[in-house]
Amino acid sequence: MATTEANAVGGFQMKGEEQVRINKGMLHGLWALTNRELKKWYKVPVLLFLSIIQPVIWLGLFGKAMNFGALFTSTSFNIPGLNIPKATLDQLATQAMLSTFGTTDYFSFLAVGMLSFIILFTAMFSGMSIVWDRRFGFLDKLLSTPVARGSIVMGKVFSSIIRSLAQAAVVLVVAVLLGMDTAKITVVGLAGTFLALFLMAMGLSALFLMLALRSTDWQSQMAIMNLLNLPLLFASNALFPSKLMPAWLQVVAKLNPVSYATDAGRQLLLGVPGFASLGFDFLFLTAFAALFSGVGIFLSWRYLSR
């Protein structure tokens, strides 16, 4: 009996086993935790498909339907007493579009906004996974291992960043296929845009995770998400330029990181004048990402450590 057991155990060796180089570094386990979340996503391609379907529908319907340019060009004004030639009207329309959107092409304008949109919506769900982990007891199991508490949160942040950037890339490709203006897109512009999106994804994921750190039920987490997502989207320049908004809303838009990532993207991809300088966009986004990741790591030490 004892011998068959010993055989079944194989090489399992505890007493006096050779010394193993244990990685006790602060960052050990971070990539494994990130990869755990990513696996759930890339192993189910239908998830990727489902998650990009929403922004694509917005692009296709909203972007094509809200044909602001055609507002002027395809209707013929006829105001009694005034006789405005069609060419003048067209010129007026172009000027109006340019001064409002910075481009005559609302679809392209919106396409960049949709990149922010998908980042926002992916980040929003990052908080849900920690609620699940808590409910299933997986979080407790993680906490009983010596992995850094901050890594538990940052693993989720990084997986959310990677996921949302991949989805943003797909949305961009679809937008181009649907007729987005590519005349001014450069490699540097692309890299810069994704850097801005990276920073926004980092800050937003950390923010939503923080809100979920103490939460035990997903209903309240859903409520928080719904409370935040539409205001964050609409009180930004993602769909419509903020300069035409009422003053109080402009203040919100000026504080909203979604505005800055979108603004940077528009300047870099479409070459339109922004509502802040590129430098300020990046400064704001970097500060936002650093602040919330920092606070997120701090809070995870506080709240996850019993």
Partner: protein, 348 residues
């Protein structure tokens, strides 16, 4: 043979090293509930120490404090030489935990789960892979290793939890109700793994259970815990002899005489109670006392009608110290149902 095993298990622990020292550990939850009430005990290196108690006794709460998941309200504990309050990280490096619930990630395979936990314990990939294979072999999951955990049965999940808790080769392994809801076969298998860990690898095990047979058959020492307090602690042998040892039932033909004080004089008899037509006698070693009693009774001219000897079980110990019986099966099925409800709710 039996006694020898007993003696070996009850062996003198003074010479052994204390690997876990718990002093006045208390947990009061926010709702003022005192789940654990000033428990103190020591666990010796290489032993299997069990907490036996009914639902809600505070077993899991104690484990959660000792494994640094919960902060104690009062009291201290030193685990593997580290203070659970001041050096929680060091404690985590040196212990393993197998929680009461099934906590493996359902979307990953058994192997992936083990590899993930190996990584969290800082074990390099090649070593981790070797250990994972060994552990999967130990818990007989090597064939199912590549399957998603969501396709595992309850018993397979329990065994996977065990493997995950062993991946860092802990000095002390905490097992919270390791055989809850398992069928007899799987339960026996888990007991076998636990004995292997102790006997072949010198691991110290701390387990909780509400199965008396588990505490009796597996543990070297048992603490009976009820309402957050340790009501009794000792080797299973000590606990049993604590209830006065073996019970002898003696029937005498001469019904009209009272032999109580006479029997009491026989060597090693600790108590005699006359009940109707027979005597209930307690003695630490029944098989020696019974013949002595018979001889004494006969030589005094009385006649023995019948005699029977029963060894005490932890059941009686339990009843004696907690005032209520352990309704094993009932508690078990209730709890399994509660567990299944949690999983269903979470999935819905």
């Amino acid at each position: 043979m039996l006694e020898m095993e007993e003696a070996a298990r009850n062996g003198n622990y003074e010479s052994k090293n204390v690997i876990m020292e718990v002093k006045g550990l208390t947990k009061i939850f926010e709702n003022k509930l005192k789940a654990v009430d000033s428990v103190s005990f020591s666990v010796y290196e290489g032993e299997i120490f069990g907490f036996l108690g009914p639902n809600g006794a505070g077993k899991s709460t104690t484990i959660k404090m000792l494994t640094t998941l919960l902060r104690p309200s009062e009291g201290d504990a030193v685990v593997c030489g580290f203070d659970i309050r001041k050096q929680p990280q060091e404690v985590r490096w040196s212990v393993g935990v197998v929680p009461q619930e099934y906590t493996a990630d359902e979307d990953m395979t058994g192997l992936e789960n083990i590899m993930l936990f190996a990584n969290l314990y800082g074990i390099p990939g090649d070593v981790a892979r070797k250990r994972a294979d060994e552990l999967l072999m130990l818990v007989e999951l090597n064939e199912a290793a590549g399957r998603k955990v969501s396709t595992y049965s309850g018993g397979m999940r329990r065994r996977l939890e065990l493997a995950c808790g062993l991946v860092n080769h802990p000095k002390v392994l905490f097992l919270d109700e390791p055989t809850l809801g398992l069928d007899v076969q799987t339960r026996t298998a888990v007991w076998r793994y636990i004995r292997i860990l102790k006997e072949q690898y010198g691991m110290t095990l701390f387990l909780t259970t509400h199965y008396l047979e588990e505490a009796d058959g597996l543990c070297d020492r048992v603490g009976i815990i009820d309402h957050g307090k340790i009501v009794r602690l000792g080797t299973t042998g000590e606990l049993k002899s604590g209830v006065g040892g073996d019970a002898i039932e003696l029937g005498i033909r001469e019904k009209d005489v009272d032999l109580t004080s006479f029997i009491m004089k026989v060597d090693s008899v600790t108590s005699v109670v006359r009940e109707n037509d027979h005597y209930r006698i307690k003695a630490p070693l029944g098989e020696e006392a019974a013949p002595a009693i018979m001889d004494a009774v006969r030589s005094a001219g009385y006649h023995v009608d019948r005699i029977s000897l029963t060894k005490p079980t932890l059941d009686e110990v339990y009843l004696e110290y907690t005032g209520h019986k352990l309704r094993d099966e009932e508690a078990n099925s209730q709890q399994v149902m509660a567990q299944q409800r949690t999983v269903r709710r979470a999935r819905a």
